[in-house]
């Protein structure tokens, strides 16, 4: 099969570029430890009372590290009575928060604006993400997976002080 000389150069350039992209992808994983949501356990959505989500909460687990358990349902995030509704999660600047989120009913999304937290929230599954809040500010938590009529008003806030 005849391949034109310029086309050969073009293909080599393409393969090299794609190779570089992929290397960058792997580097972020290995070197910088960036991670994607991945299996973090399962729960029975009809019996959350018997799980770590029985009492949603935001807890300090020592130093500047926090753990948040959040239940998404139509059409609110439940992060416990202290956080209120819609939930307001207050942490000092420099905190590292690990979010555990699950859904009680249908699919939801969990995205924190301007931070690398963006997960599907699936009934039966636990979505987990860890993020460091460097700069003080108010960051919205957005449900970004369609969940019915009240979808566009399902939100919360992280206030970094």
């Amino acid at each position: 099969m005849h391949i034109d000389r310029y086309e050969r150069y073009w293909l080599m350039a393409v393969v090299a570029t794609l190779g570089a992209f992929f290397a960058a992808l792997v580097a972020t994983l290995v070197v910088f430890g960036v991670s994607l949501p991945s299996p973090a356990g399962r729960v029975n959505p009809q019996n959350l009372a018997a799980s770590e989500f029985a009492e949603p909460s935001v807890r300090n687990i020592g130093g500047n590290r926090y753990e948040a358990h959040i239940v998404a349902k139509m059409w609110q995030f439940d992060a416990g009575p202290e956080a209120g509704s819609p939930p307001t999660i207050r942490v000092p600047a420099g905190s590292e928060v690990t979010f555990y989120v699950t859904s009680k009913d249908i699919l939801h999304g969990f995205q924190i604006q301007f931070h690398t937290v963006n997960m599907e929230v699936v009934p039966g599954q636990v979505s987990q993400a860890t993020v460091k809040f460097g700069r003080p500010g108010v960051y919205e938590i957005v449900c970004n997976q369609y969940c019915g009529a009240g979808h566009a008003v399902m939100y919360g806030q992280v206030i970094v002080q």
Binding site: F21, Q111, V122, Q125, N144
Partner: protein
Amino acid sequence: MQATQVQPVLTRVSFPALDMLRSERNLVGVHIASALIALTVGIFMGPFQSFHRAPAFVNTFLGQIPVFSYYYQAVTVHGVMLALFFTTLFIVGFSYYVVQRSLQRQIKGIQLAWVAYALMLIGLAMLVFTLANDVQRSAVLYTFYPPMIAPAIFYIGLVLLVVGSWIAAFLVFWTYNAWRKEHPGERVPLAVFAIIVNYLMWFISSLGVAIEVLFMLLPASLGWIQTTDPQMARVLFWFFGHPLVYFWLIPAYVSWYTMLPKQAGGRLFSDPLARMAFIMLLLFSIPVGVHHLYADPGVSQVAKFVHAFLTFTVTVPSFMTAFNIGASLEIASRNNGGRGFWGFIFKQRWNDPVVASQLVGMLLFLAGGVTGLMQASAQINITVHNTSWVPGHFHTTLGGAVTMTFFGILYWLLPLLRGRALFSKKVALGQAFTWLVGMVIFGFTMGEAGLNGAPRRADLANSPYMTPEAGLWLNGAAIGGIILFVSVVLLFINLIGTLFFSTKPVEGEAPIQTKVEVASPAIFERWRLWIAIVVVLCVIAWGPVFVEALDFTNGFTAIPYTTSGAPLR
């Protein structure tokens, strides 16, 4: 012409310059007409969605944006009618036309083709009915993820559409086999080759969504089962979902590879490399679907990175296409008198709507390709997943490359089918260029809105979390929407004009290639080999994902819910 000797009973339609069988004209015509019905139902929602999401518009009109009242009904209508029905009906009709003309024979089992058409039409009617009738419960969007469950008729209609397309695929394979037996040693024309690839890929991948609908969603909707597994459903859906985008794109490639070079005044640069690109699409478009599941909790990182790698691989055939089509366009422009290094870009037949529409599609595809490659990178994906960025991206691919190429095809095919010249070339050119401007604005502003935190699929204007920046960008998207609305009106002027008011006879001929000039390696037509490789790749790339998604702890435990918030039963 051999085929006519084999089947001498076929009658030809005697329009000038229209070399087509009557049976074929009717069959292709009904598919295109039905595709246009779906287009009409779906497309007007688009601009009004963009108005609904723009704070400035909603506040100016006190929320009274006309055309629809329930936002998610509109988005469901828009997605289902355009992404599922318009595309599939158009592609099936166009494929019938290309196969019959290129092989110069009637499709095998044409009665079955009519049965398939009837199924798809009933499916279309069912969807229109339920979307209009059962507004809240049907608003599950075109991805219909459980546990949100729609009325059964929603799924039955989609099943009919897919079964119809399977029959159409089978008839094309059958016709090809018959041709193959009579033409040993010859190469099948490139257009038919690509359509076989497309239907093979479509058939294999749609098994995923078929299992999802037949074993989870439909039984749940009918009340036969009480629970469903939402993570498994997403895995099954995206086994199908990525090949779906290539199912839309390959017919556009057929036009770019086999028709545009002639329409633009040149010839195709390389036929064998085109075949190689199509085979690569067949092999690599299925084992990449996890790139839609980067943000899912139930899929492991290993699978995500394997699919990320293969996603880069599946861009190679598109880069090959860019080169091949670029070179073909250069040949065309040199023939048209283009000079110098950049001459080939400008010396095109911009005043021919058939060519201009496709060039517009390609220009938009440049943006779509770059943004697509960006969001294929897992980390970038995490910042843009489910934000407005994503519709910004795919309106330049599906809404740009695919749609504008299909419109370009319509601008010659509709006159052939109707036997009258295109109503107005000027209006068609106006349509193409307003679409270009509108989509560039729409795509860019939606992308920026997404980066500023605006989610997709949300009735946003008064959302509590809307940032001022996102609001501004969404106002920009609505301006794109206005321009696109004008473009749609221009399209309909031409469609209606051509069908009912044009009096001039049709001119020119169909850009169909019936012979293959350059021999390509015979291995490209060893279909069993390719299918075997596809199966192996799928088992390797998808097997672990399926096993992992199986929920041994809970079984299928999540309860089906309706959109209104009340449990279904």
